[in-house]
Each structure stands twice: as C-alpha cells, then as structure tokens.
Symmetry: D3
Subunit: 161 residues, 6 copies
C-alpha cells in the first residue's frame, strides 16, 4: 500500500522497512528502505556517511543522480523506469526526483550498513540548531546575508517545529 | 611560510602536506593537510566520505563547527585559539571560519584515511558538470528556479574555468 | 518481465541484476539479485560465505527460513506476502519456497557484499567434481553407501553436464 | 591424552582448547581446537561462517577436503600424514575422515576468528528444530518425501535428545 | 606553552591532547599527541601496536627514524626542521631525538587509532613487573647475566617507583 | 622431523609451514609456523605488528611470556608442557625459552594474519642498517655509548653477514 506523501514539503516519504528483529543480529551490515514519491515529488540531495545504496524502481519513473567529490564534481544521472537499478556510492551527494506530474513513484533502497545515517543537505546547512553563522554561509554560497537569513528561518522552522 | 589565499573566493588554501613516500606504505590509514585562512576567510561547509578529522590551530583564531545527521541537525561549534583542538566525525558537514578582519590563521588537519575524499557542498550541489535539474534544486532549497539558475551559473563558472 | 524457470529442476531462476558499472566502484560492498519462482518452485538450501541478505517479496507468496549454527540448529521461518521483508544472516543455511501450486512468485535480494558467493548445499555435497568419498557421506548423513552413490550420480550429472 | 570418541555417531570429538583468559583479550581474532578421530571416524561436512581454518595433523592419517562455491563445486582433497598442514577457506564446506580401521588420529585446527561458528550440514538441514518442510527438502535433494521424513526423524533425535 | 621535560630521564614529555568529548564519538579512529623535547632530549625507541603515526615538527630540529621488520632491519631516518613531516608505519620501532644542545623542540603526532597503544622498548624489556628471567635476556642481547641484572634494577626502579 | 637449531646463536629455528597454495586464497587471514628449540634455546623477545598468536607445545617444556604496553609493563608468563596453549596479543613483546639443558622442544604457532610480520627487538634496535645513532640508544637504555657501540658491532655482524 502506498505511503502518505502529503505531509512532506518535498513530496516524498522514506520508510525504514521493519525487518524481523532477532537476538544477535545487531551487526547485520545491511538495511532497507521503501521510498514513496508524489507526482513531482523528490528525495532531495543527501548523503549516507556509512553506506553505499542500490535503488530499484518498483513503480513509476525517477530522474536520479549523484555528484563525485572534489575537484571534479561530475554528475552521473539517469532516468529510471520500473525494474531499473542504480548505485549511489558511499558518502556522495545524491537525489531522486519524480518528473511525472500525475503519477506517483515507489522505490526500494538497499544500504550497505545497519546504521547508514542520512544528511539532508539543505536541512543540515540551513536548518541546524543552533544556526550556523550567516557570515559563513553567505561566503560559502556567495549570496547576500539576508538571503541566508531567509533560508535559515524557513528550514529552521521545518526542522524544529 | 604562509600559503597564498588570494586566489580563493572563500579565502582559504588547503595543502596536502607532502609526506615521505616509501615503498609498501600505500595503506597508511592516515593523511595530513595544512590550511591557511585569509582574514575573514573560510574553509566552506564540506564532508570527508572516508575520514574523521582532528584540527589543531597553529596561528590565529577559528570559528569551527559540524552538524549532526537527520533528524537532529544539531550544530556543535566553538571558537578555537592557537593550540586548541577539535574533532569532525566522519561524513558530517563541517566548516572553519577566520572571524578576524586583520590577521590570517593557520591549522593542521589530521585525517583517518590515506584517501579521505572531500565534497564541498555548494560546489557539488550548484556547480556539478553537467548541472542538476533546477526543478530538483528549487524544491530541495525551497527557492525560485531563477535563484537556482543564478547560483548554478556562478558555481559552474568557478569549478569549470 | 518474468524470467524463465522451466530450465531449473528446482523451479527457480536467480538473476544478478546488471547494476550501472562505473570506474572506481569495484569496492561497493553491496549487490542485488532478482529471483523468480515457478509454482511450487524453490531456491534450495544454500549459504553466502561473505554476505547477509535482505529479501523483499515483489509478487506472490514465499515460505522462507534459515537455521542457526551448532549446536542449536534452530529454524526461523515465516510465510511472506507481497511487500514483506526477511533477513538471512551471513553464512547461515537458508531457503525460499513458493507454496502456491498455480502462481509464480518474484523477490529482490540485497546482499551486503559485491562478491557474496553462494553454495547450494545439495550440489556442493553430492555434486562436487571429483566426488567426495561415499564413506565420508554415508557416515555424515547416516545412510547406506548405495544411497549416497545414487544421489551423487544424480547431482553430478546436474552440475557437470 | 586422547579424548573420548565413543559417544559420537560419526566417531570424532572436537575440543575447543581452553586458552588463557586475560582482561581485554576479547577481540583476539583467533581460536584453536583439538580434534580426535576414532578409527574410521570423521568430522562430517560443515562450514565456519566467520573463519578460515588451518589444520595440522598430530597423529595418524586423515583424508580431508573442501568444495568450492557455485557453480564450480570443485573438490580439493588430500591424504595428510603427521605434520602435514591444510587450509579450509572461510565459509566453504569441508570435512576430515580417518581412513585407518585400527588407529585413531588427532589434529589441531587454528581458526581466524575468536568466534568462528560451525554449521554441521546434515544436522542443520535435517535436524533443525522445528523441522524444515519436507516439500522443500525433497525437491532440494531430489528424493522422495518419505526419505526426507526418515532422515529428519533420525537427525532430530540426535540433535534434540 | 611548553611542557616540563625535567622530570624525564630521557628528556621528553608526551601529552595526549585533550580533544572535545562528544556522545557517540567513541570510535573516532584517530588521536593526537603533543611532544616536547629538552635540548638533547628524546622520545626513545617505541612502537604503537594499533596505529600509523604522522609527525609534524612545530619548533626546533629532530633526528627521527624507524626500522623495518625481519630480516631486513633497514633504518629509515631523517633530520627534520620546523614544518617537516614524517611517517612511522604501524607496529614498527621508531624514535625522535633533539640533537640541539641548547634549544628545545616541539612536535605534533597524529595517530590512526583512538587507542594506539605505546610500548617503550627498554622499559618493556628490562623494566617489566615481574622481571623477565635474565637467562632469556642475556641470550637475546648476547650480554652477561649481571649486565642484564644491572639494567633490570635500573628500569624496574624507573617504572615502578 | 626436527629442524636444525645449531646455526642459530639463540638456539631456535622458525619454519613458516608450507601451506597448500590455491588460486584466490591470498586473503586467508591466517598463517602457521613451526618452532624448534635447542636445549636452553629461545625465540628471543619480538613482536608481530599485524597478528595475535596462539602457541601450542608439541614436545618438551617452554617458559613463555609477554609484556603489556605503557605504562604498566606487566609480564604475563607461564611454564608450558606438551599440549599446553598460550596467547600472545597483537603487537606486544613476547618470547619463548626452553629451560631444559638436555632436551629440545617444539611448538606450533598460529597467527591471525597471512602476513603477520616479525620484529626481533635486539636485532632491530642494535643491528639496523645503517645503525641508529649511539646517542639515541645510550640515552634510551641508560648505558655508556661504548656499550652501545659494542652491542651494535655484534648485532650488525649477525644481521648483515
């Protein structure tokens, strides 16, 4: 059954699938997530500090990609249909986007750690608690400080309400 | 001797120190970098996919910090002076900023891998080659698409000229 | 599209899904397989020497299980339906069986190694080339030597024709 | 002094040698076993999920072997005399058999883990508690269900009395 | 500020720098030490069982080296000045010596483990509690037993007063 | 058959047992050595940078021990007879000595690495090529420089003739 994606501003819902818990299995080295995408919904740019990910599309279409590290910053991207598979290497920034305006999409992600971690870039950078100094972010993103302040207000509210 | 920080828009210069190369040492598990900061210069938000980092301030003052992963996004930050030490855990987004308008700063970073990798967030997100679709980034950062386009133009030029 | 299961005596077809090959990805630490089961087909008892496995049922119903190591030999088993998930810990003997006489089943298996290995118990024990001495197997399985000889003839033919 | 092998249906006795326990040694990465074999006794086909094994013959003669994984199922075997050494790679099915009708044999096994685990194939497959469905095993071993039932009755009694 | 080196017979003072303690950081994989050397002081031959080390000279001059394992026993050594860097591979015997009769020296050492361990050779061999039999040490170092006894008396007093 | 111990000044002979070489076994994670001891012979103080060791006495009697790291330098030692077992933790200095004036001894050592390495302390410290400065060693061992020079002459000749 599809998960609700209406509560999410970016239009996606990540469910860590509830695997059977067994005594002694605390070092499995693997985990699994189901991701539901609303029409035009996305799983925004993020990283997993401790896992490589393999994504399989179960329903619909997804535009996916990841960016390599300094100083290449090369984007590998692809449009995936049902049954297609894609790999996101450990620690690299990656995303999935449902380009269809009418139909939802569903994918299964397998991760090479029982504790992969996840860092959503926009939330960590602009929505941390307390906030990162806007001097730091204005220079890093080469925008005005009041642009940073506006972004921080928005993401801080998202994360901490 | 201080390294040149004038070529950098963000006002910093990272030098991987030239360690003695010996046959058979290709699996050291450690590396070292020297970082020079101009007045008000910074090492902007970035991650190392494969290393924890210990930073020691050799000269000047630094405001440093890192943000924890979802869904806490908690910022740990501190102002460091000469001789102070700080730890950035593997894979988390972190930064250093020189808050002094007149004096430069210098730090030594030890990293727990001979191949730590580095992803500068703004460059990877907005400066990838080819660019990430602005639909994806507008929704992720909750800004207008023309704001994304402007940022992409700027960072793309930085990375690929 | 369903894979052909008619060529298999046990009624299953394991396909290592063709993930995108990229330079430098040779240490992914993860792999993926699609398994098709005929009605009453099975993936017979086997082990993966180097991987834990997470199985997700995409279509149909599966009776699955694994047995713990000496001296407990405890069976953990379950009947799974579409969307259900099950974990097989590294190195333990496990199986999947489609109990439905009319409908096929399909599952996706994620494995915590890019090179998990697989040992099908009956084939390795009775179908090795050259054969294991029937003295050894008769005592191990507590059957007559001519029973062992008959099993070896059968599996040897399967494996090596 | 020789260990008793009369209580064992397969004619062997595996003793985990009692290593000196020291505070802080709980992550040794190695363990040791002494194995006594009656005349015509054997250590039946089994695997260690977490260890490679090196076997040294201390007394007598042993026919030993292991089988490689799918789809080769190649048997590497050898007759070993006093002082001879053999390697069983991690996770592969292996055995030792004393082919002498009159003399016992003794061996020392070093294992590359402080917790190697052991799965005796016949016991795990036919003697699990509860039993694996005989539908599964009949198809896997390509025998009649009543043959499976008879084997299960026998091994279940061995394991669980 | 310089650390006191007067209490040390060998003229050095190793300070494990007090890194910020954070919940969950107990598996950092890295640590840091500051070492102060008196004029003609030294950090005598020692090993780290669980870490490679990178040394950076902050002040003064150091003659440093390490010896490879059997049967080469090759010495790699170098005179380092301020800013120079040197690598000591995991488990190998190494040392640093300040050859200047008037000026102290200071270095920072980064180690590839949060628990690197340290074994000072002379103290472990001659100053253990209880003492190693002088038969063993006389033969190992090819000296008279009363020479061993004299060394043991001296180091035992150092270690255990 | 016993190995020759007459060529050795310390009265021992370490033989890396010739394990069966197989394609693909280059990451075994384990190795094995046979050690022969002359009457009053010894395997002098040494470390293995990359392995824990389990020793089993096959013939005779051995006085064995290891010393813990700084700053305890605690000696754990024991007299072992035929069949006794002892553990030497990774990286710690350890030795074996045959206290019997008439009978030889034999032991088997299992090591938790296919490439354990070995550093004989006296040879590495006093017999390196080129030699370590006698200033360094005189201060480290708190002896006169001419004592160091005499030891170096002796061990250098042993190692490099």
């Amino acid at each position: 059954m599809p998960r609700d994606t209406k509560m999410s501003k970016v239009g996606s819902n990540v469910t860590l699938i509830n695997v059977m818990k067994l005594p002694g299995l605390n070092t499995l080295g693997i985990s699994l997530a189901r991701i539901d995408y609303a029409p035009l919904g996305e799983n925004p740019p993020h990283t997993h500090p401790r896992a490589t990910e393999i994504l399989t599309v179960l329903e619909g279409t997804l535009y996916v990609g990841f960016v390599t590290s300094n100083t290449d910053n090369k984007l590998f991207s692809k449009v995936l249909n049902k049954g297609d598979v894609f790999v996101f290497p450990q620690g690299l920034i990656h995303f999935q986007f449902n380009p269809n305006s009418y139909k939802p999409a569903v994918a299964i992600a397998a991760l090479s750690s029982q504790n992969p971690g996840a860092i959503t870039i926009a939330n960590a950078v602009f929505g941390s608690k307390p906030m990162i100094s806007d001097d730091v972010l204005a220079k890093a993103f080469q925008v005005e400080k009041n642009t940073v302040d506006w972004l921080q207000a928005q993401f801080w509210a998202d994360n901490h309400n």
